[in-house]
């Protein structure tokens, strides 16, 4: 079946129509007619299609369906982009009753999203940007640009072979995790004393050129430690963390360790870090250690750091703290009508949630819609209160925080407000436990003084 992901993705031959617009500059309607017939109903039903192609119209990735079979569809997309470009203009989006089509061009790559999720154009474009960044995280922007400068017709699939599942994974997680909408990272709630102790262990296990150390448990951030001089230059953005987490998830290894190059696009899109990744608790594999170095040859030195960390964990029984973590539930706060909420203090990374997985994913749609309205570039809002059939939703932005909440549908405004106040008070009380305030971290490194140099200089490509 041509429409499902086939194993032989590696067909390097590409036969596009070389000129998609004829000499008269007319758009050949025959081209547009052709691909209309081959799509199956099941392919059409997908909620969100994402396509990646090169400026030359060569297919690179398609979320659903074999991108080879879709090459003529991608050819049409490229033709639309160039046609509008030829008029000194830039295509942005197409709207129909059921779908929104969004275009994004970054350098020599073109991204297209065809979505029935009713997300806004800005939100869809941001997702495409994440896809671009994920590709950059695997190749670096500099090499992508350089490759296409030399050969416009290059087939990027040759370099991305085997990485489709990384992109698949990213798209799946963007559709189910509100972290992307909020540009935030979810933290594991821990008493600050425990978190400090864990960070201390990470801080002591260092080696030259080790720049970042992360501890992640169940996809939530437990601790992050950053080399002091690097902190002064730049801070990690949540988006980069998401890409890192996604890469690790997609590599799907269990026991053992990995040493892989990774670029953090928002931090520095032209150079690689080298990531050492290992689980500290095999076979459950829920606690993951990630150490980033700028030295390609440093594998053994970094592995040694891991060993030191493991020892320290064992001696203090640190893994227990992580296992014992209490995930809080709304019941704790005794707010009868509040079903679910997301809270993000400004400047920092976190949010949290309750409810079943399914319901949370369903809520993502209305949350995203409110997020879009509240952060509109032309008419932003401070507060939205929406009573609908299934539930009552609230979105609220202040200088201190941003939050989204879901109440039972029949809640009165008085109750909603009073429960919200209760919730906010509770969050304030538990702040230390819930969030990681990055710049509140002490970060002195001991032993050999590191030369103060910016990360880029130290890169070996």
């Amino acid at each position: 079946d041509n429409m499902h992901r086939s194993d032989n993705r590696g067909s390097w031959e590409f036969q596009p129509e070389d000129t998609l617009t004829e000499e008269t500059g007319n758009f050949p309607s025959t081209l547009a007619q052709a691909n209309f017939k081959i799509m199956s109903e099941s392919w059409r039903q997908h909620r969100k299609h994402v396509f990646v192609l090169s400026e030359a119209g060569k297919p690179i990735y398609s979320r659903y369906g074999n991108e080879e079979a879709l090459s003529s569809t991608m050819g049409v997309m490229m033709a639309l982009v160039s046609f509008v470009q030829a008029g000194g203009n830039m295509i942005q989006s197409i709207f129909s009753d059921e779908h929104t089509v969004v275009f994004l061009q970054k350098g020599p790559l073109v991204f297209v999203s065809v979505s029935a999720t009713r997300q806004s154009e800005q939100q869809l474009r941001r997702e495409l940007l994440h896809v671009y960044h994920q590709i950059v995280s695997m190749l670096t922007q500099a090499s992508i640009n350089r490759i296409f400068e030399r050969r416009k017709n290059f087939d990027l699939r040759r370099l991305l072979f085997g990485s489709e599942k990384v992109l698949d994974g990213l798209l799946d997680v963007m559709d189910s995790d509100p972290s992307f909408m909020l540009s935030a990272v979810q933290c594991l709630p821990l008493p600050s004393s425990s978190r400090d102790a864990l960070s201390h262990i990470l801080q002591k296990a260092i080696t030259p050129d080790l720049v970042f150390s992360f501890l992640i448990a169940n996809n939530r951030l437990v601790s992050v430690v950053q080399e002091k001089t690097v902190l002064e230059d730049a801070r990690l953005k949540p988006s980069d963390l998401h890409l890192l987490f996604n890469l690790i998830r997609a590599s799907a290894f269990q026991a053992g360790e990995i040493w892989m190059p990774i670029c953090l696009p928002l931090f520095n899109h032209d150079c690689y870090f080298y990531a050492y990744v290992a689980y500290l608790d095999p076979p459950e594999c829920t606690v993951c250690l990630v150490l980033l170095s700028t030295d390609k040859e440093a594998f053994y030195a970094v592995a040694e750091c891991k060993r030191k960390i493991e020892e320290a964990f064992a001696s203090q029984n640190a893994l227990q703290w992580v296992a014992n973590t209490q995930l809080y539930y709304v019941d704790d706060i005794s707010v009868a009508n509040l079903r679910h909420f997301l809270y993000k203090p400004s400047k920092v990374l976190d949010h949290h949630r309750q409810l079943s997985q399914e319901e949370r994913i369903r809520l993502l749609d209305p949350y995203r819609n409110m997020h879009n309205r509240i952060h509109s570039t032309s008419r932003p809002l401070k507060l939205i209160y929406h009573s609908a059939g299934k539930e009552t939703l609230l979105a609220w932005v202040t200088s201190k925080f941003e939050m989204f909440a879901c109440f039972t549908p029949l809640v009165t405004k008085k109750s909603a407000i009073s429960e919200l106040t209760k919730l906010l008070r509770w969050i304030k009380k538990e702040e230390d436990r819930l969030f990681i305030f990055i710049y509140a971290f002490p970060l002195t490194f001991q032993s050999q003084p590191c030369k103060r140099q910016s990360v880029t200089q130290n890169v070996k490509k």
Partner: protein, 460 residues
């Protein structure tokens, strides 16, 4: 961010408008045949063909994903194109330039997406079905008709002042007491009986509707035409002074103030030629072509619709004039008097306490205390356009689901906007109470509903 350069503001404006049918020129080299109408005319032929080609390609591309719901609009950095398949294979496309604020290194606030929809509908009233016209006279006739109609119509479009009220396309009803309403009813009945040719009638006062015998959808379009096109064209003479040459010829006719707005401008001149515009109604199931007679006396206007097959001659017009003129004049002054009495009772109209817009989808009734004056060319609203756009956003959100909902929003300027949807009714209220909280706003709106809409249930 401070810079010496002046900010230039460009409002949204119509760049081009065209109609095409791909079936008319399916083969290579025949592309020009597809184009039935193109404005502006001056555009070079090849560029017209290219633009039409792009539209076709986009529609076909979106059919890949949803065969029955192809593209409605295309957004590019500089403009937006809106597509509408008026009838099978007949496509209308409108290209609007994006509003821009030119600052150094910065550009474009996106405009509201809503306003383009209404333009499309009005044309159907006057063009009937394209396919019918095609059968009748072939493509040439169709292109001629399109050219005549759209050339004039496009001039009445004022995109920059379109807002939510235009999206609704509602009808403003004139509030009347029962007695006066009955008087009007009986007037209509009498006229329809005496002039058996008249099929449908509509009665308006002061640009607002009182009674209509037409189907709702047709009346909506006719109303729009009357209030944005026909009435404004004829309003000046009435306001002209006694000695102005614009003053309508009333010599020898001191019995009444009635006159024809369509048809014979001057009944006294036996040689003057005249004709009535033709309209098409009930185009869904049956198909009727009618003459549109609009007759006015002071601020009251009556529309009589007669089967187009009938030839309306001078004699008929004189008969109508002598029958309707005096009665309508009397009626008009009656209504005016009654209106003034009511006003005196209810007190002088001060600044309306609540700023709101109300629309009922079932009877198309609209009411707005926000629009102070809405004519063809200008829509004066007493609120900031950004707030109007927020109303538009709420309306979009309401349209997603078919349930009763309420959305309350606090804008950056601390204005509160409340939108309520109940059954087929929508109410939007704007409150300028900066220090109010959600509960207080809720109470205010409840008060409004209690006084103005007490027989309608809105969510609490």
């Amino acid at each position: 961010m401070a810079s010496g350069m002046q900010e230039k503001q460009y409002t949204p404006s119509l760049l081009s408008f065209f109609i095409y049918n791909p079936k008319f020129g399916p083969r290579e080299g025949e592309e020009e045949k597809k184009i039935l109408f193109y404005h502006p005319i001056e555009i070079e032929k090849n560029e017209k063909i290219r633009n039409v080609g792009l539209c076709e390609a986009i529609v076909q591309f979106t059919r890949t994903f949803s065969p029955t719901n192809p593209a409605k609009s295309l957004h590019t950095q500089k403009n937006r194109q809106f597509f509408h398949e008026a009838e099978e294979n007949y496509w209308m496309v409108m290209v609007v330039r994006n509003p821009m604020v030119e600052k150094p290194n910065k550009d474009g606030k996106p405009p509201t997406v809503e306003y383009q929809e209404e333009e499309i509908i009005v044309s159907n009233l006057f063009n009937g079905t394209f396919s019918r016209a095609f059968e009748a006279g072939g493509v040439e006739l169709l292109t001629q008709k399109l050219e005549k109609f759209f050339y004039r119509y496009l001039q009445t479009l004022h995109l920059q002042s379109c807002d939510l009220l235009d999206v609704f396309g509602g009808i403003s009803f004139f509030p009347l007491d029962k007695m006066t309403y009955l008087k009007i009813q009986s007037f209509v009945n009498r006229v329809e009986e005496s002039l058996s040719l008249v099929k449908y009638t509509a009665f308006l006062y002061n640009d607002q509707l009182i009674w209509s015998g037409l189907e709702q959808d047709d009346m909506r379009i006719l109303y729009k035409y009357l209030t944005t096109s026909l009435f404004p064209r004829h309003s000046e003479p009435e306001l002209a002074g006694r000695d102005s040459p614009l003053r309508p010829e009333v010599a020898g006719n001191l019995l009444h103030y009635g006159r024809f707005l369509t048809g014979p401008a001057n009944l006294k001149d036996p040689d003057a030629k005249f004709r009535f515009p033709r309209i098409f109604v009930n185009t869904e199931d049956s198909y009727e072509e009618l003459h549109l007679i609009v007759y006015k006396a002071m601020t009251a206007a009556v529309c009589f619709m007669v089967n187009a097959a009938v030839d309306l001659n001078r004699e008929f017009c004189e008969q109508l004039d002598s029958l309707v003129g005096p009665q309508l004049t009397l009626l008009a002054s009656d209504i005016c008097e009654q209106f003034n009495i009511n006003r005196r009772i209810s007190g002088p109209e001060k600044e309306p306490q609540f700023k709101f817009i109300y629309f009922n989808h079932m009877n198309l009734a609209e009411k707005s205390t926000i629009h102070m004056r809405k004519t063809a060319s200008v829509s004066l609203t007493s609120v900031h356009p950004d707030l109007m756009k927020i109303l538009g956003d709420i309306n979009c959100d309401f349209a997603r689901v078919n349930e009763d909902e309420e959305i309350i929003v606090k804008a950056m300027t601390d204005y509160w906007v409340v939108g309520k949807k109940s059954d087929q009714r929508e109410l939007y209220v704007i409150l300028n109470q900066k220090n109010a909280n959600l509960i207080e706003v809720n109470e205010e709106v409840k008060r409004l509903c209690a006084t103005q809409f007490n027989n309608i249930f809105f969510l609490d």
